[in-house]
């Protein structure tokens, strides 16, 4: 497979939040193996890029106490992190183990747990989830005691988190007994959870036909050893990165890797990112960007620091409010992001970015001269926006806008206005919706 800047852009969008023109050039030259190494292991050059950290009204963020700042805090990481795949996988796990309506300190702690274990083994990740107060409170695992086991967590653990199918109501009941023992308590102003052995049912349970005095740690092993688990989890990971259907041979190969590596997420994701199907249709991308991927991507590829609070409500208007997924099943991805409201919010985002959000963009648009040709105008706008993919039809439409402007006797001021308009159209146009 030839390896070009287009391949790098596809890989960096799917595995992160887009590539800057410099990254695209660099990793096109270095090759696919180097690009994958960077994404999977980092380059050892620190945690963040040179983009300045987020500041709102000149002040650093207060993600714990200021509503909306927790969203900007995570968005800021997506924009600046030198481990974009880790942030993308943190987003994947945030959706997979969807948790909402819990106190901000607990949600931020859960987010950090996802980040630290994003590419670890699934066993370690699930262990973190099982001990996480936010999800324990959300799914009523906290307060589930031997005298009254709550089935909610056990049911979602099998249905949504690990298996999808292959269990019955007896398994749900028995697993609920095995998961009893966490209770609520107040600590540092908020309600959190702790393990109380006296609330745990230490009797014998039968789960998936196996019998023993099972507890939470045993449940993690039982669900991950279930024959339905590996196909379930590799299938979900595949569809997060690739729009092509997962064929049986590839599924078998991913399952084999998952099992042989002791449930290594990094091993499976690495194999998916190297698969030719990820690079299909480079000239007609068909994966719809989630709102946060769109916003983080625009900021990252244009090297724009976060200075606007409104990114947070704009993402909500686009249908994605981080830390508040709509249900335990997470968000509906794909075409669900293409509502009329979402498209309007994308236009507003482009306007905000062009008018006040990006200093780089304002400075660059001021270079525009009255004697630029329509083609020079379009090329300059695309360069400013980080050279995103655009379809031939879109390019023709942008050239049409620039030609109309030319016909009206341009001045330096109007040339700059045209640059801003073209940038705005590139960000809010239909091509920016896909990657």
């Amino acid at each position: 497979m030839a390896w070009t800047e287009q391949h790098v852009r596809r890989l960096f969008w799917r595995a992160g939040f887009g590539a800057t023109p410099q990254e695209a050039r660099h990793y096109a030259r270095m090759g696919q193996a180097a690009a994958l190494r960077f994404l999977l292991d980092g380059d050892g050059q620190g945690e963040f890029s040179d983009i300045p950290p987020a500041r709102i009204h000149g002040q650093p963020l207060d993600p714990v106490n200021e509503p909306g700042h927790e969203v900007l805090w995570w968005l800021d990481r997506m924009v600046r992190s030198r481990r974009p795949l880790v942030e993308k996988m943190t987003l994947f796990w945030h959706d997979h183990f969807a948790t909402a309506n819990q106190d901000t300190p607990l949600m931020l702690a859960q987010n950090q747990m996802f980040r630290e274990r994003a590419l670890d083994t699934f066993l370690r990740l699930l262990e973190g989830v099982m001990h996480d107060p936010a999800i324990q409170l959300y799914l009523s695992l906290a307060g589930s005691r031997k005298t009254a086991p709550n089935e909610n967590f056990a049911r979602e653990l099998m249905e949504l988190f690990t298996l999808g199918s292959g269990y019955d109501e007896t398994d749900v009941r028995e697993m609920s007994r095995a998961l009893t023992g966490w209770r609520k308590r107040r600590a540092n102003g908020i309600t959190t959870t702790y393990w109380d052995p006296n609330a745990h049912d230490d009797g014998v349970k039968t789960i998936f036909g196996q019998t023993g005095p099972y507890g939470p740690d045993d449940v993690i092993v039982l669900v991950t050893q279930h024959p339905a688990h590996a196909p379930f989890i590799v299938g979900k990971l595949w569809s997060f990165f690739v729009t092509e259907p997962l064929d049986p041979a590839t599924q078998a190969a991913l399952v084999a890797t998952y099992r042989a590596s002791g449930s290594s997420i990094k091993a499976v994701v690495g194999q998916i990112l190297a698969h030719p199907a990820l690079y299909a249709r480079l000239h007609s991308p068909d994966m719809i960007k989630a709102p946060v991927v769109h916003v983080a991507g625009v900021l990252r590829t244009t090297q724009t620091p976060i200075t606007l609070r409104r990114y947070s409500p704009l993402m909500t208007a686009m249908g994605q409010r981080l830390f508040r997924p709509p249900s335990v099943a997470g968000w509906d991805w794909g075409t669900a992001w293409l509502s009329t409201n979402a498209m309007q919010a994308r236009v507003e985002l482009a306007g905000a970015l062009v008018s006040v959000g990006s200093k780089t963009l304002r400075v660059r648009s001021k270079r525009a001269a009255a004697d630029w040709t329509p083609r020079e105008h379009v090329d300059a706008a695309l360069e400013t926006m980080g050279r995103p993919w655009i379809a031939h039809d879109t390019r023709a439409a942008l050239l049409g806008v620039a030609r109309d402007f030319h016909g009206s006797g341009p001045t330096a001021e109007s040339a700059q206005a045209l640059q801003r308009l073209l940038c705005q159209l590139v960000v809010s146009g239909p091509d920016a919706v896909v990657h």
Partner: protein, 107 residues
Amino acid sequence: MIATALAMMAMAPATTVGMSAREYRYGVYRPVVRAGTVTLVLHNFGEDDHDVQVRGPRGYRSAVSPDVDPDETIRFTVHLRRPGRYLLVCTKPGHAAKGMTARLKVR
């Protein structure tokens, strides 16, 4: 001197305290603050309306905040000049008795 102190207090940025409300408990994300202007930012995760009043040393009583509707957030600023232990109380009938109070320490 008093005028200078008042001017400095006016200039000092308010400390923000994130809070949650649900039936029938508060979460307080910054349980210890410095004396001065404090802005309580209260989000309602519950199903009922809630509010907050701050009660403190020497019979201090703040005004009662506006109601915060379910899934809404309000900002409510109080001036807590004396160090000591304060109590955050929901004044809706029966809510405090069911546990809807929380502590805030002012240093």
